[in-house]
């Protein structure tokens, strides 16, 4: 039986990662992720975790070291945020396109400029075309649980892709919550030892990733897209398997909250979802039929489930903690619109808030619901709502 412990999101992340028994960890400190690296280093240096810990000189090398270890057959882990993710972009893209599974925690943070160290999801959103599976967590329990699920999803033979476990920098990474920590035996019963392929093996010599002509490249890309599609089913399966053992289900690709009879729906990502649920309760008390859909996965994008969940509703708004330059809206709004093929049957708009650590309050969420309620009978796109305090 697991035990109940109060811990931060970063502690939940490294505790979950450690339960997965990684062969090798390579990471470089960056705010707000640093305590993940510190926590794992502490466990290894105190003999509580049997992993190789490689002290790298940059995030570019962190991703490169884990790439080498994974190519040599290891289960590997790293963590980063914002500028660190940007620096590791080159081996990051290659990790997914090599089709080698691994897990990386991403304590999401705003991208500079303006100079910032605070929360935001621009880092994760900016790499959503880099071929990784990206999941977003709301609570610290979810962060820990998703570490176990992430390895299982990544290593599934139908998937074979790296997974980002994203959670909001500071709001989740530094927030303390009580959560249940599975025992090592329970974790082992859920996640089997890694049986990955050793790609660089003198016993079976082969060239890993030689220069590849376009025709073959096309086949690889098509396979990668098919694996992303297959991952949707695997994600749901793993959620059910996890629920059967631990009694906690997160809904797989999306979570729906009071959507069944809703007229107007908030679509949220990550930590803001809890605030959104409070705002929905608040609106319900005022007689507004509000509901919420939490996007739990950004890649693969849960287009089908999202469209089904929105079917028959009058209006939706997507709250983004990042922007899409060139579209004058948030990126998840853009993708939600694309997923809902008949978007113009709904009233809909993008809401942008919480950039660079700015507060994304219950009041902001209420204002989104109020606007939805006001425009719900006017189908089509409405102006982007900036959730600012002035």
């Amino acid at each position: 039986m697991g035990k109940i412990v109060a811990m931060t999101g970063n502690t939940a992340a490294y505790t979950g990662a450690a339960l997965c028994r990684p062969d090798l960890i390579a990471a470089y400190p960056i705010t707000p992720q640093s305590s993940v690296v510190e926590g794992l280093a502490g466990m290894v240096y105190n003999g509580k975790l049997d992993s190789s810990f490689v002290q790298v000189e940059s995030e570019h090398s962190a991703m490169s070291v884990v790439q080498g270890a994974a190519a040599a057959g290891g289960r590997v882990f790293t963590a980063t945020s914002a500028q660190g993710l940007a620096l590791m972009y080159e081996p990051y893209f290659r990790m997914s396109t090599l089709r080698i599974p691994m897990v990386m925690a991403l304590a999401t943070r705003e991208m500079t400029s303006p100079e910032t160290i605070w929360s935001g999801q621009q880092d994760a959103m900016s790499v959503r075309e880099a071929g990784w599976i990206q999941m977003f967590c709301e609570s610290n329990q979810e962060i820990l649980d998703m570490m176990l699920q992430a390895y299982m999803i990544a290593e599934d033979p139908r998937v074979q892709l790296p997974v980002n476990v994203c959670y909001d920098g500071f709001y989740s990474s530094h927030l303390i919550e009580g959560l249940e920590v599975p025992s090592q035996d329970e974790a082992d019963a859920f996640l089997p030892p890694y049986a990955g392929k050793t790609y660089l093996d003198p016993g079976q010599p082969a060239a890993l990733d030689p220069l590849t002509p376009g025709d073959l490249m096309m086949r690889y890309r098509k396979n990668h897209l098919e694996a992303m599609k297959a991952a949707q089913e695997v994600i749901e399966e793993v959620d059910r398997k996890f629920a059967a053992q631990f009694g906690r289900s997160y809904g797989g690709l999306i979570e729906e909250y009071k959507t069944e009879d809703a007229d107007v729906v908030l679509v949220t990502i990550g930590g803001m979802s809890g605030t959104g649920k409070d705002a929905v309760d608040d609106a319900r008390e005022k007689g507004i039929k509000a509901g919420l859909i939490k996007l739990r996965f950004v890649r693969p994008f849960p287009a089908e489930r999202l469209a089904r969940a929105l079917k028959g509703k009058k209006a939706f708004a997507v709250v983004d903690r990042s922007v899409s330059f060139g579209w004058s809206c948030g990126p998840m709004y853009m993708e939600t619109r694309a997923a809902v093929v008949d978007a113009d049957r709904y009233a809909h708009f993008s809401a942008i808030g919480g950039l660079g650590g700015a507060d994304l309050s219950c009041g902001h969420m209420v204002s989104v619901i109020e606007k939805l309620e006001a425009v719900k009978n006017e189908p089509g796109e409405h102006e982007t709502l900036w959730l600012m305090n002035d």
Binding site: V56, H60, S61, V65, Q67, P91, Y199, P202, Q204, A207
Partner: protein, 300 residues
């Protein structure tokens, strides 16, 4: 065993059929490193002449008989750190972990990851074949390009006469990382090169080993392909490529107290055709000072 017997009794790991230029120093160095390391190795070769020449396989007609990966231009040492850690963890320290990279991937954009891996004492052998530039893409300058060299990004022009800076001397920088083994070599001194590859592989079982090998490039430097070994020999004779090694901080210099002048080395090499007297004097001063420093480091 003499180096000739060593080469006779080891197999080529790289198959025939690579598309390297005639007289390529890089290919000669790579073949010797690979055959001495043998098939119980994992090799990494970043983009550059050797990857471009298809040492890891191209068109199903040539390849390598040992596992090999084309790393990124800037992550060869860190990628191989991960491979090495996993092999130590698996209880397979017998597997040689070997990187073979050009000077661009080593001294320029790959330098950070190289320095990191060296500082950590990663168990691997890193061999740099230094042909003083980005040859695979048409000879752009690198930080190891000699002063006054006419390259495609530092042409000997009417306003600026070739590369304006002296070369960065990487081997001493690597020696200052307190690594197990650091050495320079030249394909013109094959017995020395073979011995150093063997020593480097041995040292890679204890920690980081680095070998910096002078690599003549007829195509980029513009000299006849049959002159490659001669150019390498003159580079050693002129002290542009002094031969030394450093084992755990102890320097050993192969003496060359009567060097030929730099003016004699540069003669006949196209990239140096427009060197001025001042530039020749400046390179001469650099190599003299470098040799004097190495003599001091190697003094008992």
């Amino acid at each position: 065993m003499s180096y000739i017997d060593v080469l006779k009794e080891t197999q080529n790991v790289m198959t025939p059929g690579s598309s390297a230029c005639q007289g390529c120093g890089g290919e000669l160095i790579l073949r010797r490193v690979m055959q001495i390391a043998g098939n119980n190795s994992v090799f990494a070769v970043p983009p550059g002449c050797m990857a471009g020449a298809g040492v890891d396989g191209w068109n199903f007609s040539n390849g390598c008989t040992a596992p090999i990966h084309i790393t990124l231009l800037d992550n060869t040492a860190s990628f191989m750190s991960g491979v090495s850690e996993m092999y130590q963890r698996k209880g397979r320290p017998d597997v040689n972990i070997v990187a073979i990279a050009g000077d661009g991937a080593t001294a320029d954009c790959g330098f950070q990851s190289l320095s990191g891996a060296a500082e950590r004492g990663t168990k691997m052998l890193y061999v740099c074949y230094d042909n003083e530039g980005y040859m695979n893409t048409g000879y752009q300058r690198s930080s190891t390009t000699s002063l006054g060299s006419s390259t495609s990004t530092t042409p000997a022009g009417a306003a600026i006469n070739g590369k304006e800076q002296q070369q960065k001397y990487l081997p001493l920088i690597m020696a200052m990382h307190n690594i197990e083994y650091c050495a320079t070599a030249s394909p013109s001194n094959m017995a020395d090169l073979v011995a150093k590859i063997q020593k480097g592989l041995e040292a890679s079982k204890r920690g980081f080993a680095y070998l910096h090998v002078f690599s003549p490039c007829p195509t980029g430097w513009k000299f006849a392909p049959d002159q490659s070994i001669q150019v390498a020999r003159k580079a050693v004779a002129a002290n542009l490529c002094p031969i030394w090694e450093c084992e755990k901080g102890v320097f050993k210099l192969t003496p060359n107290r009567k060097p030929i002048p730099i003016a004699e080395f540069v003669r006949g090499i196209g990239k140096f055709k427009k060197l001025t007297e001042e530039e020749i004097a400046s390179i001469q001063a650099l190599v003299d000072a470098r040799y004097a420093l190495l003599e001091k480091l190697a003094a008992e």
